[in-house]
Symmetry: C2
Subunit: 365 residues, 2 copies
DNA sequence: CACTGGCACTCGCAGGTGGTGAGTGCCAAC
DNA sequence: GTTGGCACTCACCACCTGCGAGTGCCAGTG
């Protein structure tokens, strides 16, 4: 009863929903609310009772629709910009809409169009992510988003230390997914490049193929076991590894790609300069987004965050659709789109969903 | 006579000017034009003859000022938004203004405030550049810009090959300045990680401390000399090096940092959504900026590009102030600001100039 | 001859007015 | 419960008006 449009689709695209939240609505309430949201998504304008009764084949007069709409407004699903204007959905109204939505999977042609964007010429992991956020933007006409894999969740492929200055050493970490992280660390004692080489070699032999956590544990074990032998080398390696790994957990700003911010500015709701500035501010300060994304990592499946649900004022009027990409069943990164709450969910959700699966498959091999 | 405000300052900040371009202007023309630009920069509003005659102590009646202004309009230095409005400077008017400008060097306090932004905690070269564009933005209230050093002009510190997949190899290049470049290349024959290690070691022993061009020459020479000995290794090294170096010359998009785009949006001239969108488009497509920056690299000293001088429509109403940073007398990268043509040149120029010198000094050591 | 005061003119802008139309709430009738 | 009718509300647009800043031109003055 909560999902009136058939259950098969639900299995297809696993959307995180809020079950039972709208149980008090009658079937007619639902139909009208759905119609209002649908129309508003299409027109971006307040929708009146007359439009609903004419366009959506409900066999109800405008007056009846008005009664229902008044109820829905009281229940917090709709709002009026001013008396004597039509209604627009609130965030709660959109929440109902997506909770009920069963988007159809992407057609074969569209899948193919997306797949064809990933050519072999793409280069390293970062480039794959940038291209991903570009294509998400291009196909959805919204801003596309892709976040680099979390270091903790991926496996090391390679570590390298390069001496830059007397006490400055550049650490280069390469993960399984072809993403390169680098970071400058300071050491107390000067180290020669040759020595750094030895350390790199040793660490590589130990940690290749391990995750960050595993690598840490393994190193500690190794240290204890062989400590007596080559005391000096191991001590230095231990130190450098520690420095290299610390604070490597959190996604840094440079690892969030947002492309196509401009397409979002085309939407009529951002015609006012003020709104646009607020939104671009949110983009520029990626820390806000990172927080949201981190939270979404906890939950499985495709996440939809509507307006105030993000608990950030800058995101008022904006929704996020996020999904994860995985490597061998483990969630490693996030991708999705940002757009106005009034976005075309049924079109965009399958795009995000398919792209997430595709990226997972790409990284797998 | 062309520079009426004393020549000592000219030596201090080397601005590229257009000499003799405004010789036909009388001393009075110059004073009034200068006053109009100054006032317009301060107020962002068309300036009338009355304002000039009152505020700028020229002892001229509004009527006389009007006559001169009419001449200046005919000569293309000023324009009227509409009849019966004041005048605003054209790009040519601003060009005159900066050609004549002798900005005073930054005060010791301000120098110190900028210097203090570079702490040792800053990390690798890329982070230094990002911080540079941030501080340029913060101190100028415009958008800050910093471009990574050109690969050709810097010296290699380290090269490393990491095997990602059967035929995919990740190349990691570290330059003298602590900037890490990485790139995926494809090889025809599978190579083991051990083999790649040998190749890295060999190449490092040959090219460390050389520039891209030198490295290429040296490699060719080495190849020829020792080819007979270890044929296979050298052939593979040669191939990989070639792949790694090709297309490494051009600054790629990811190496242009633009920070504080929003501060520019605060300016009254970008109150219209259309203008703002055009500008952000220019930011998003960095290729346009890269072209401008490449061109500016040719010329020595501080460059000012006003409005149409960039020959790009997207940059209408915008000026660039660019300077270079050097490593050992060689120009390696560019930094600067982007703002409305109506920016405070006399304040911003010293900031860009000082920052460029500072970054050069930082990279030097 | 350069400079100035005066004057008529132009035009953007802000504020006020009235008409239009979409949409509502309420009520009585079916 | 549903519907048609009706009075009402408001945003929006087109139109007008007065104000003020600024101009161009001209004749007068040192």
């Amino acid at each position: 009863m909560n999902e009136p449009r058939g259950e098969k689709g639900t299995e297809r695209i696993g959307i995180a929903r809020s079950p039972g939240a709208h149980d008090h609505l009658t079937e007619r309430d639902r139909q009208i609310l759905h119609a209002v949201v649908t129309d508003y998504i299409a027109s971006a304008e307040p929708v009146g009772s007359r439009t609903i009764s004419r366009k959506y084949g409900l066999n109800l007069s405008p007056a009846s629709v008005r009664n229902v709409m008044a109820d829905l407004e009281e229940a917090g699903y709709l709002q009026q910009p001013h008396t004597s204007a039509g209604r627009i959905p609130t965030d709660k109204g959109f929440r109902f809409y997506v909770d009920v939505l069963e988007p159809r999977p992407l057609s074969k042609q569209e899948q193919e169009r997306i797949r064809s964007r990933y050519t072999t010429a793409l280069g390293d992991g970062m480039e794959v992510l940038r291209e991903t956020s570009r294509l998400l933007s291009a196909f959805s006409s919204l801003a596309g988003l892709a976040v680099a894999p979390r270091l903790e969740a991926t496996r090391f492929r390679h570590i390298e230390f390069v001496r830059l200055r007397e006490r400055d050493v550049l650490v280069i970490l390469v993960t399984d997914t072809g993403v390169v992280h680098n970071k400058l660390i300071h050491v107390d004692e000067p180290l020669t490049q040759d020595r750094l080489h030895e350390i790199s070699n040793y660490l590589n032999s130990v940690i290749t193929g391990l995750t960050l956590r595993q690598a840490r544990e393994r190193l500690l074990a190794e240290m204890r076991a062989e400590k007596a032998l080559y005391d000096r080398l191991y001590a230095e390696a231990q130190l450098l590894a520690q420095r290299a790994f610390e604070s490597a957990e959190v996604a840094s700003e440079s690892e969030v790609f947002i492309e196509g911010k401009l397409s979002i500015a085309e939407q009529p709701e951002f015609a006012s300069v003020e709104k646009m500035k607020a939104l671009f501010k949110a983009f520029e300060e990626k820390s806000l987004l990172i927080k949201l994304i981190d939270k979404s990592m906890q939950a499985p499946g495709l996440q939809i965050i509507i307006g105030h649900e993000s608990e950030a004022d800058e995101m008022a009027g904006c929704s996020l659709i996020l999904s994860h990409y995985t490597v061998g069943d483990e969630v490693v990164g996030t991708l999705g789109v940002i757009g106005p709450t009034r976005m075309n969910y049924s079109r965009v959700i399958p795009i995000v969903d398919y792209t997430a699966r595709l990226v997972s498959r790409l990284l797998e091999q």
